[in-house]
């Protein structure tokens, strides 16, 4: 099953995810996020807008690649993949 890693900034809002090995069923990136939302209700509201698109300053990667479809998050997440969720940084 795919693993999920995320910025510790999100633990502030979802402490139940801290120090947890998060694994979810394979599927689309959107389905991965919904699976996390099952563990931590409200999670998708922090990374997606009300239309299900990735928020402007959030990055979602599958292994070493940034997801291509940031609107519907249809990119496939394979069984052995790792999904990374980070805030987008612009330096400073």
């Amino acid at each position: 099953m795919p693993r999920v890693e995320m910025t510790q900034q999100l633990y502030r809002f979802f402490p139940q995810l801290k120090s947890q090995d998060i694994t979810v069923p394979a599927g689309s990136a959107a389905e991965v996020l919904l699976a996390i939302n099952e563990i931590a209700p409200g999670f998708t509201d922090y990374v997606l807008d009300e239309h299900g698109a990735l928020r402007r300053h959030v990055n979602l990667c599958i292994n070493n690649s940034v997801v291509i479809d940031k609107i519907k998050l249809s990119d496939r997440v394979a069984d052995d993949a790792t999904v990374y969720i980070f805030q987008s940084l612009s330096g400073g």
Binding site: Q9, L10, F13, G42, D45, Y46, V47, D49, E50, H51, A53, R55, R56, H57, V58, Q87, S88
Partner: protein
């Protein structure tokens, strides 16, 4: 007089408590998170903060234990199909009176929750939230769920019902610079005024469009901008395109409304049927962002003037508060206790409040000043706060 002051700041929510006649700040809440507005619901004591997360989207945060703990709420969302006509930053040859030949549309998403307002006592649980890109949201269950006010969203001044199809009228709502941080140039609702005599009677102010009123609980809306004057349009008396910076009323005389506008200070004593410009530019009383009215005397109001418009800071390095008690016919300036040299403060639209004889304001320079004598003398409550976006007595 209130015993609590809430600050919404660039780095969180700061609450002052009045203890033994001294104002004491608590440790910051929402540490590190920009809070664009914080206020206390006078009906049940619930505290509210509008969080402006840079990465995670805007959220409302609610405390039902006086600020000891806060819970984020994510339920304020535009419904599927909510669209707006895209505006672009003005260019040197931009003419806001001229609509684009082919309107472009964008799905609406909440970018900023700019203001929170509370219903009257006869509507417990009724809350209002004004947003960028220009939607008014209403809750009737204390903020657990929210609904977009569609008649205002689909108003003819904004292109009509875009749920049903493309624009059926000209979009007169222009962008606010406050939206640029979100990568757009769209309007915002920053002022929501509920008539204490009649819960169905509400004013909202939009940057940049003007003042709009409903008398039927939000089922229909009409512009209320007669008498308003703009310095920046070919027709200064145009029905739309006004830039109210903040609008408020006198709770004891609700037909007395005050407006600090980009183009001066405006006053209405007839429920916004008409406005009168009451600025005194020769006294430096003209441009600014916040304005408050006395609780009982509709002719009395306070402003914190600033240099218009490209500078947006204290005039000639001296900070002052101006007060009128005669409906803006005359203004008195008060400087006692405020810095008169090297002051570069600007007080934003929600950065001034009044409670009885007590006034308080905070600036983007992180200074907080309090007056206990109707603005005549001031004391500093601190000079090292984060940039301050809102000040509200609790």
């Amino acid at each position: 007089m209130s015993d609590m002051i809430l600050l919404g700041t660039r780095k969180g929510t700061i609450i002052f408590d009045r203890i033994n006649a001294s104002w004491q700040p608590r440790p910051i809440a929402h540490s590190g998170v920009p809070v664009c507005y914080a206020a206390r619901d006078p009906r049940d004591g619930t505290l509210w903060a509008s969080l402006d997360h840079g990465h995670w989207g805007p959220k409302l945060s609610r405390s039902r234990d006086g600020g000891a703990s806060w819970v984020d709420i994510s339920s304020l969302k535009y419904p599927l199909g909510a669209r707006y006509i895209v505006k672009y930053l003005p260019t040197p040859d931009f003419n806001p009176e001229t609509p684009s030949a082919q309107p472009e549309y964008s799905d609406a998403t909440v970018l900023k929750i700019w203001n929170i307002a509370f219903g009257n006592a006869n509507q417990p649980g009724r809350l209002y939230a004004g947003t960028i890109p220009g939607g008014l949201f209403v809750s009737d269950d204390g903020g657990d769920s929210w609904e977009l006010n569609n008649p205002l969203w689909s108003h003819h001044s904004r292109g009509g019902d875009l749920f049903a199809g493309d624009a059926s009228s000209v979009n007169h709502w222009n962008g606010t610079p406050a939206s640029i941080d979100y990568g757009v140039f769209e309007p915002g609702i920053h002022s929501i005024v509920v008539d204490p005599r009649d819960s169905n009677h509400i004013y909202v102010a939009v940057s940049t469009a003007g003042v709009i009123e409903t008398t039927d609980g939000g089922q229909s809306w009409e512009g209320r901008n007669r008498g308003m004057l703009m310095d920046y349009l070919p027709n200064p008396e145009s029905e739309w395109g006004h830039d109210p910076h903040f609008v408020t009323n006198c709770p004891g005389q609700p037909d007395h409304l005050w407006q600090q506008n980009h183009c001066g200070i405006f006053y209405s004593d007839n429920g916004a049927t008409s406005w009168q410009k009451v600025s005194k530019p020769d006294l430096g009383v003209n441009f600014g962002f916040p304005i408050v009215a006395d609780a009982n005397d509709g002719r009395a109001a306070w402003v914190v003037p600033a240099r218009a418009d490209s500078e947006r800071m204290a005039i000639d390095g001296g900070l002052f508060v101006a007060r009128t008690t005669d409906g803006g016919q005359s203004w008195q300036s008060f400087r006692n206790g405020l810095p008169q040299n090297n002051a570069y403060d600007i007080v934003l639209r929600h950065g001034l409040d009044v409670s009885g004889d007590c006034l308080c304001f905070g600036s983007t320079t992180g200074n907080v000043y309090l007056s206990a004598d109707r603005g005549e003398t001031w004391q500093c409550l601190g000079s090292n706060f984060p940039p301050i976006y809102s000040v509200r007595f609790g």
